[in-house]
């Protein structure tokens, strides 16, 4: 399990990356993060929405209520052009950290 600080810091790049791959809604996002991290990153469901709403307020993502195939209405989120720019910056920064640690831990670097 990640520490609280790391959890908070990584939520933005994770959400932007997921939404860069296509629109999604809260429940699906959490399932995806749980699956991708192999259970290492467990977001409490109720905590996800404040983060999503903050990103929306910052103009990085947009949202819309839409009816799913099952007939249930869900609030879908999708990434905005500003969000893509922010994701680029996030990516550079996270990889910079990753590569620095990688050098120290003798792991192959990832090109930025």
């Amino acid at each position: 399990m990640l520490t609280k600080d790391l959890m908070a810091a990584s939520s933005k790049p994770l959400l932007l990356s997921i939404l860069a791959g296509g629109e999604s809604y809260g429940y699906e996002i959490i399932q995806k993060v749980r699956e991708l991290s192999g259970g290492q990153i467990e977001w409490s469901d109720g905590m996800l929405y404040p983060v999503l709403h903050r990103l929306e307020r910052d103009g990085l993502i947009d949202s819309e209520w839409k009816q799913a195939d099952t007939g249930r209405e869900r609030k879908y989120y999708f990434i905005s052009p500003d969000g893509r720019k922010a994701l680029k910056t996030e990516r550079q920064q996270w990889l910079a950290v990753h590569n620095t640690l990688g050098k120290l831990w003798k792991i192959k670097p990832i090109s930025i």
């Binding site: 809604y25 429940y27 469901d45 109720g46 905590m47 709403h53 249930r72 209405e73």
Partner: protein, 239 residues
């Protein structure tokens, strides 16, 4: 005799919905979003062959305690809670103005027709009986006296208290203003409390006007903003 009570999923969801609605910091859109999430989570557990009851409790646990969620929402957007509060304060002020004006008008007319003598007294008193009546009702509401008999849900009571408080404050301050009006009335020597514009130089009128409106509208808001943020932090009792 059946000992095992049947678990009613719809009733459980309704209960959860109400618990969520008791959180004053969650907008209806937020609640709707959290509810679709709960339903998705329940459906997810049901697909894994868990029964209704297990699915509900696990999904509920996943989504988190309503109070916790509410706190997280406030942390993410502190200004939102204040926007909500200011909205209710403004509503309180409008309600107060409407209520006193309507009542004053109605009581004035009724007294004029029924007891002309009393009507004069009423006008001379600066309409304070109406104000007093509204004050008493407002205080009762603020104390939550009617909450039980009106079967108000918790969050409604909470909002009522805020609105009622504004009414009380505005009333208390309007009594100060009525003193002004009475003074003017005596100075002018005729039966009107809207004579302010005639007797004093314009600068005096402007000062009076400013004071009256600042006292009526700005002061209650400032008071509430300073002293009542804690009101919204309460948790409803959990069964």
């Amino acid at each position: 005799m059946e000992n095992q009570t049947h678990f009613d999923l719809n009733a459980a969801i309704e209960g959860w919905r109400q618990e969520l609605a008791a959180q004053p910091n969650l907008a209806s859109d937020d609640r709707r979003e959290l509810e679709t999430h709960l339903l998705d989570a329940i459906a997810g557990f049901q697909r894994r062959d868990l029964n209704d009851e297990e699915s509900f409790w696990l999904a509920r646990k996943r989504v988190g305690q309503p109070q916790q969620i509410s706190e997280e929402f406030v942390k993410a957007d502190p200004a939102k809670a204040w926007r909500e509060r200011i909205f209710w304060m403004a509503l309180g002020i409008i309600m107060f103005l409407l209520l006193t004006q309507t009542l004053t008008f109605a009581v004035g007319i009724a007294l004029y027709h029924l007891f002309p003598g009393l009507h004069e007294l009423y006008v001379k008193s600066g309409f304070w009986p109406t104000n007093a009546a509204v004050l008493i009702i407002g205080m009762a509401l603020a104390r939550g006296w009617f909450a039980q008999s009106l079967k108000l849900v918790w969050f409604l009571k909470n909002r009522f208290q805020l609105v009622a408080l504004v009414i009380i404050l505005a009333l208390l301050l309007s009594i100060t203003q009525t003193e002004f009006a009475r003074e003017n009335f005596v100075l002018n020597g005729h039966h009107s409390s809207v004579v302010t514009w005639e007797w004093a130089p314009w600068i005096e009128n402007a000062r009076h006007f400013l004071w009256a409106y600042l006292a009526r509208i700005a002061a209650p808001i400032i008071f509430l903003v300073l002293f009542f943020p804690a009101q919204n932090q309460k948790t409803p009792k959990r069964s």
